[in-house]
């Protein structure tokens, strides 16, 4: 009985937290169908009093939403695929191979996560510009191709891959690449799912670096397009809400696809067995 009451209390608490978390998104979604004066009105209503699609129609006036959406999607998919692969590879090496300097090398990888991003912004900008990579997607993909957080996460998840299976495969004559692709990768699917979601979100939200590197408007990403709703003196909230609503669709889809494995993957990276 006591356990049941505890469970009910816990669930009610979680429901409240979920409602508090979700409410701003619901409010944004519904406000994207409101006129500007209703969004800023003193008397706020969750549902629009007068429904309008004008905010959605106005997105295209600010930027080529389809093009930028496609650019962001392409970059997010490619970077996520590359970063997850390199992270898994790095995590596997650090987790399962024994070699001199492994600890030091892993510490160096971890140390890179502790350097504030703003510190490297200008040197990185100069480096990529001097290399002639400005206004190319290479400048977006290359810095994100290796993720120190991803390597750390995958390194932690390698504890879920039994050494005995790897040894057995080697005895059966499997190559190291075969073991990595056919044994390690399938056994790490939860961690891969979790990292894929994180990575996809980071790329999807990334604004300043793409903004600095891409100069051709048609190559720009959606996150940069969204900022054009905020002007010097005021913000077009209706348009911003509509564009943001459109922009979160892929994020929701990615989460829905990977959600079953996301929690398990995140937990496996957080707990060292």
């Amino acid at each position: 009985m006591r356990l049941r009451i505890t469970a009910i209390c816990l669930n009610v608490g979680l429901l409240v937290i979920a409602a508090v978390t979700i409410f701003p998104f619901v409010w944004m979604l519904l406000s994207s169908f409101k006129h500007a004066d209703e969004i800023a009105a003193v008397d706020q209503h969750l549902l629009p009093r007068v429904w309008t699609l004008a905010n959605y129609r106005s997105i295209q006036e600010h930027f080529d939403v389809v093009r930028l959406f496609g650019n962001s999607l392409l970059l997010a998919v490619v970077i996520t695929a590359i970063a997850v692969y390199t992270s898994l590879l790095g995590g596997y090496v650090f987790g399962k191979y024994r070699f001199r300097g492994r600890g030091l090398l892993f510490s160096v990888v971890l140390a890179t996560t502790m350097i504030p991003w703003a510190v490297v912004l200008i040197p990185r900008y100069t480096m990529f510009t001097d290399a002639g990579l400005q206004d190319s997607y290479a400048s977006i993909i290359i810095p994100a191709a290796i993720s120190s957080f991803g390597i750390f996460m995958m390194r932690q998840s390698m504890d879920n891959v039994p050494d005995e299976i790897l040894e057995a495969a080697r005895i059966d004559g499997a190559s190291e690449l075969y073991i990595f692709h056919r044994i390690v990768a399938p056994l790490s699917v939860n961690a891969i799912s979790a990292l894929a979601i994180f990575q996809f979100l980071w790329v999807w939200e990334d604004y300043l670096w793409p903004y600095l590197m891409i100069t051709t408007p048609s190559k720009q990403v959606l996150a940069v397009g969204l900022t054009t709703f905020s002007g010097q003196y005021s913000t077009d909230y209706g348009g911003l809400f509509a564009a943001t609503t459109v922009s979160i669709i892929p994020v929701v889809i990615v989460y829905v696809i990977f959600q079953r494995r996301f929690v398990a993957g995140a937990a496996s990276a957080a707990v060292k067995g």
Binding site: D37, Y85, Y211, S230, Q232, S234
Partner: protein, 458 residues
Amino acid sequence: MKTTRTLAAVLTTAVLMLTACSGESSDDGDGVKDTTAAKGLPIVGENLKYDPNTLVNDGNPIHLDWWAWGNIPQMQAFADAYQKIHPNVDITVVNQPWEDYWTKLPLQLQGSKGPAIFNVHNSEHDNIIKYMAPYDVPLDQLTADYINVQPHVIDGKVYYIDLGLMSGAIYYNKDMWAKAGLTDADIPETWDQFREVAKKLTVRDGSKLKQAGFNFNASFSAFQSGMAYQLGQNMFAADGKTPTVDNPANLQVIQRFLQMYADGSGSKDFGTEATTSFGQGQTAMVYAWGWYEGTLRNDFPKIKFGVFRTPVPTAGTTPYAFDRYNGESTLGINKNAPADQQAAAQDFLKFYLTDKTNMKALNLSYGVFPAYKPLADDPDIKADPALQAYGDIERYIWPGTIPSTFEDNFTKMWQDILYNKVDPAKALAAAQQKITTDLAGKNFQSAEQSYAAYAPSN
């Protein structure tokens, strides 16, 4: 095997993308060649002239990027009109987000691939001036055509000037005005009259304020840095460097505004942001700068508003200055751009500075009074509520690009007075001390002395 194939496909796609997207963009525009110099078009301009009957870049195709952070349709209109005359010049107006424009622009201007043309805001002068090419136009002609060129002259050259002047005025709700039984004859000339009108526009339900007659919450720095001019008080001493904040004029401004809240015409707790409260139909009058006209039209289209000049201390007299103003700037030219782009940009600049039609549209969209003198008496300018309210624009003063410490400390001062019950005299002294400390060692020079009616004050 399937995983390997998938990964290989993804990586191949990535490599293809890198290759495809790393190519240099062409500088040749749309490839149209112009072969006719004598187009039979009239030479335009008053003193500064633009002759369209020439070949730009010898008629060869050329592409110019023009970076801007807003008012894109108006910029595009300039570009379209110019391209109609010079079809070999392809100008792309690129919309940039205001916030990070000032991070990206200086970085981009360091190299040769930055935009040939870019919009300027005078608050970022120090950030970008070293990348700007001087205007290739006769200074005397520019001065004859534009207001307030002189403060922008550096070693005999200008790199940008004002295209329009923005200042403050009183915005009022016409429906509330009529409901209170007020007419156009009640537009107040003095602050005392304004105070009485504010009382009439105030609506209460018992002790509860339902409608503020006047609201200045969160607009503190806007009026505090301009109203002392009405009392003959400059922001800086005669040296142009020493800030003069703690003085009887600023104290009088504070007392005047506090009196209106003491009357019950408004409250620090009612409509915590005056301009939003006005848009929401809670407030009858606010003090705001010209940009507010556009905000009202876009965000609060149902509000019927009028605008009148900020009241003065004494009826029938012109004060030392009505208010402070700031300018919206003309475009800048990238001195690191290739020579052919710079030459084309200089030609476009002359067109831009003499194109009355598009300059008027740009001024109206910014909500600024035109600095281009031929537009001063334009019927559309005179019909604009915010612009007509300024009155004699020559009696507004530009103190230069005011360091942000003024805005920060005037805001803090008012918050201390209203919300922390700090004595106004003490709050003013604290603001003076902080602003003086912040400006110590800074290379700031006020432009107040360029004001035609300048008189030094302590």
